[in-house]
């Protein structure tokens, strides 16, 4: 540009600005919305980008100022730590600091590190684009993804506008992932994960982040989202165990009101407390989740229930519980974030002491079976989006276990109410555990419940609980009980805790506490089963011989089996029952 042109340009600029002022606000003035104070979005958007209905306070209160200062101090420390990431000093401090909360400006970087995204991205250059272009041609999940992207985090400034940059990214990430992991494809809930990751990273990073969350054993969310939700069952049952042990009164109240844990905990687990806790707390929970993995879910669920026990105990209906746990807590958790996180830490210790801190590693059917990113042409049915008429086997299992868990609760409730001598009541709190296993074919047997409800004492059923090492001869059991026993034999972690459930029952005989190990057999021995209709699969319904003599003989072959842990004879009120151990 020569001198003359430069001068001309300056003059034009001056004239244009003058004319704006000369025109004022009238005569076709062009004013961008953000230039006016009425641009409300500035006043209603919080520091995380979420838009509120009302204007936010202009000034910070004392507490906020304090927190702000603390965060500024932490930023310095994190800055230093971030520069020296692979040092022992970082390793030592990281956990402590993450529990205190990752400063928001570092969140993206740290989440990417915790998820190991950078490495994956380098290892699989081009894979994301490849999956995305496959999705354009083949993905059968597009309609559902579109329906969910259109409503996910619409109160966030980045997702506010339809087809905004981030909304498009969310769509592309989910579409690409539906091809990368065709076993899961897309399941409702995943839009939350993608949406949240995208607030802190770019599209390809979010894709790999999502992939780690589903596939990595530390998080293994694949098991939550895959057909039949196998992992959900396991985590729900674990949660119930914790509730029965630590919050028995609350658990009973929830049961009484028909509040199955799946109602409130499903979403907690599927989206790791997003949209059920306030934004800032939700992010703190995610900081810890990304550090520790899925083992943290049970502790957080327990913490929420524990902290709100008092309020929940005043409630009398399912309606109130749902409203409180699903809506109220998101608006106002009632405690500040630090208090909640401190309580979570204490909960972890509490659960550890009772060996209930971890529901265990993923079971075989919870982890991906097919290699990722290998293309398989979808079937015609899924291409045209036709629904299956029948449940898949995995869905069937899920369904049965849910129904069965409800049944168990009702049986317990009725026993409590109808039994004059509650001491005789002993019921496994974990009967439902069996169906969480892939091969399990156990289904709830109607005759048991019917018998139960027919007479007030029909539900008096005791169980003997003991543990021996594997290959015990279970043939002494009636076929009816055997299916339960066998299924439960695979339940490595169950802990019968009737004594602590507040039922006032006689403590169930049980083996000395043991480390969960895969070869424990748990045996339930009923007596006095009411005569009922035949089983649907026509199994012989004779009572075990042992009941006649009140003896059970367990044969253990020393060639194959290690020591029997603890097998004391024990006596139930009536009829008496004796366990004998026959060592060759």
């Amino acid at each position: 540009m020569n001198e003359e042109e430069l001068l001309k340009r300056s003059a034009a600029e001056r004239d244009r600005i003058f004319s704006c002022y000369d025109r004022g606000r009238e005569n076709g003035a062009e004013i961008d919305p953000w230039e006016d104070p009425a641009y409300e979005v500035y006043h209603t958007t919080d520091r995380y980008g979420f838009i509120h209905d009302k204007r936010l306070p202009q000034k910070m209160d004392q507490n906020e100022i304090k927190l702000h200062h603390v965060e500024m101090e932490r930023v310095k420390k994190w800055d230093k730590m971030n520069k020296h990431w692979d040092t022992t000093a970082t390793k030592e401090k990281l956990r402590r600091r993450i529990y205190k909360g990752i400063p928001d400006r570092f969140r993206g970087e740290i989440w990417i590190r915790l998820l190991g995204i950078t490495k994956l991205k380098h290892e699989k250059v081009g894979k994301y684009e490849e999956m995305l272009s496959l999705a354009r041609q083949w993905s059968t999940e597009i309609r559902q993804i579109d329906a969910d992207v259109a409503r996910q985090y619409r109160d966030h400034i980045n997702y506010r506008e339809r087809y905004s940059l981030k909304q498009r990214s969310m769509f592309y990430v989910l579409a690409a992932y539906s091809m990368y992991n065709m076993e899961v494809g897309y399941c409702q809930g995943m839009s939350v994960l993608a949406g949240l990751l995208l607030l802190y990273m770019d599209e390809e990073e979010a894709f790999w982040g999502l992939s780690v969350l589903l596939a990595d054993k530390k998080y293994s969310m694949h098991g939550f989202y895959v057909d039949g939700f196998p992992k959900l069952n396991r985590f729900i049952e674990h949660h119930d165990k914790i509730m029965t042990k630590f919050l028995p009164k609350l658990k009973r109240k929830l049961d009484k009101c028909g509040c199955d844990s799946i109602l409130y905990a499903l979403k907690w687990f599927f989206v790791v407390f997003q949209e059920r806790t306030p934004v800032s707390l939700g992010l703190r929970i995610w900081d810890i989740f990304l550090l520790e993995g899925d083992r943290i879910l049970s502790a957080i669920a327990y913490t929420v229930m524990k902290m709100h026990k008092r309020q929940l105990m005043t409630m009398e209906s399912l309606d109130e519980f749902c409203n409180y746990l699903q809506i109220k807590l998101e608006k106002d958790f009632g405690y500040d974030d630090d208090t909640v996180i401190n309580t979570v830490e204490r909960s972890i210790d509490e659960l550890k002491r009772s060996k209930l801190d971890y529901p265990g590693p993923p079971l075989p059917h919870e982890i991906p079976r097919q290699p990722f990113g290998t293309f398989k042409e979808p079937t015609f049915t899924s291409k045209v989006g036709r629904r299956a008429d029948e449940f898949s086997e995995a869905q069937q299992l899920m369904r049965e276990s849910v129904v069965q868990r409800r049944q168990t609760v009702v049986i317990e409730e009725e026993s409590r109410e109808s039994s004059a001598t509650p001491t005789e009541m002993a019921m496994a709190n974990n009967c439902g555990a069996n169906s969480s296993l892939g091969g399990s074919k156990f289904s709830f047997d109607p005759s048991l419940a019917d018998g139960c409800c027919a007479s007030p004492h029909g539900s008096r059923r005791s169980l003997a609980d003991t543990s021996v090492t594997s290959t015990a001869d279970l043939s002494v059991f009636s076929s009816a009980t055997r299916s339960q026993a066998l299924d439960n034999s695979l339940d490595t972690q169950s802990n019968v805790s009737v004594g602590s459930s507040g039922s006032g029952g006689l403590p169930t005989p049980r083996a000395s506490s043991h480390q969960p190990s895969p070869d424990i057999v748990r045996i339930y021995v009923p007596y006095g089963l009411p005569p009922g209709p035949t089983y649907k699969d026509e199994l012989p319904r004779t009572l075990p011989r042992s009941l006649e003599t009140n003896k059970i003989r367990i044969k253990v072959d020393p060639d194959q089996t290690p020591i029997v842990e603890s097998l004391k004879p024990f006596v139930l009120e009536s009829p008496e029952l004796e366990l004998e151990l026959d060592l060759k």
């Binding site: 259109a150 199955d260 989206v271 629904r387 049944q407 609760v409």
Partner: protein, 218 residues
């Protein structure tokens, strides 16, 4: 339009002060994803409409009470997730239900097809006496309509369903469809028993309803 009087939640007090019968019914909402199930409930229970109603993951439970002549009807509403993968959880909600609203979106033919399969499933699996209503939602989007009113109405008649086109956004027919269901539900001693026959029975028990409360009227 039917005149609807909403009672205060949880009370059996009628507006004019007389105490009527209280009936309690379990109602479940079913239908394809994003047809407006949660929005219908939100409109009916809270009188609100959210432009971007978040997707239901799992299920939600709400209650609303309506007054009908001498009877107060309390609906226990189960709102379910629409995606097929969550289908396996649905029986937990619809078994033992005395009423169901199957929802489709009038601007989407597939959702209507899906509604018909839900109806089939209910007829096969749910309590034989279940009252089923078909709701063609998003009726405010008339210019995008693909499912004709007559088509749906004919289907509903064939299958003995209540039918209305609704709009959670404008509130059109929302109270009305619930009220129509309330009217159709039996409100005598036998009412609850009907749902305890056949498949529904065990679950009625499992819902924690003892015979006395399983019946709708006290």
């Amino acid at each position: 339009m039917i005149d609807v009087t909403m009672a205060n939640r949880g009370t059996a007090q009628r507006p004019n002060g007389t105490q009527g019968k209280i009936c309690q019914f379990k109602l479940v909402l079913l239908g394809e994803s994003a047809v407006g199930k949660s929005s219908l409930v939100l409109r009916f229970v809270k009188g609100q409409f959210h432009e971007y109603q978040e997707s239901t993951i799992g299920a939600a439970f709400l209650t609303q009470t309506v007054c009908l002549d001498e009877t107060t009807v309390k609906f226990e509403i189960w709102d379910t997730a629409g995606q097929e993968r969550y289908h396996s959880l649905a029986p937990m909600y619809y078994r033992g239900a005395q009423a169901a609203i199957v929802v489709y979106d009038i601007t989407n033919q597939d959702t209507f097809m899906r509604a018909t399969t839900w109806v089939k499933e209910l007829q096969r699996q749910a309590s034989p006496s279940i009252v089923i209503a078909l709701a063609g939602n998003k009726a405010d989007l008339g210019n995008k309509r693909v499912v004709e009113f007559e088509e749906a109405q004919a289907y509903a008649e064939e299958n003995g369903l209540l039918f209305m086109e609704t709009s959670a956004k404008t509130a059109m027919n929302v109270n009305d469809i619930f009220l129509a269901i309330a009217k159709k539900l039996p409100k005598n001693e036998q009412a609850g028993n009907a749902s305890t026959s056949g498949q529904g029975r065990r679950l009625v028990e499992s819902e924690g309803q003892k015979p006395a409360t399983g019946n709708c009227c006290k």
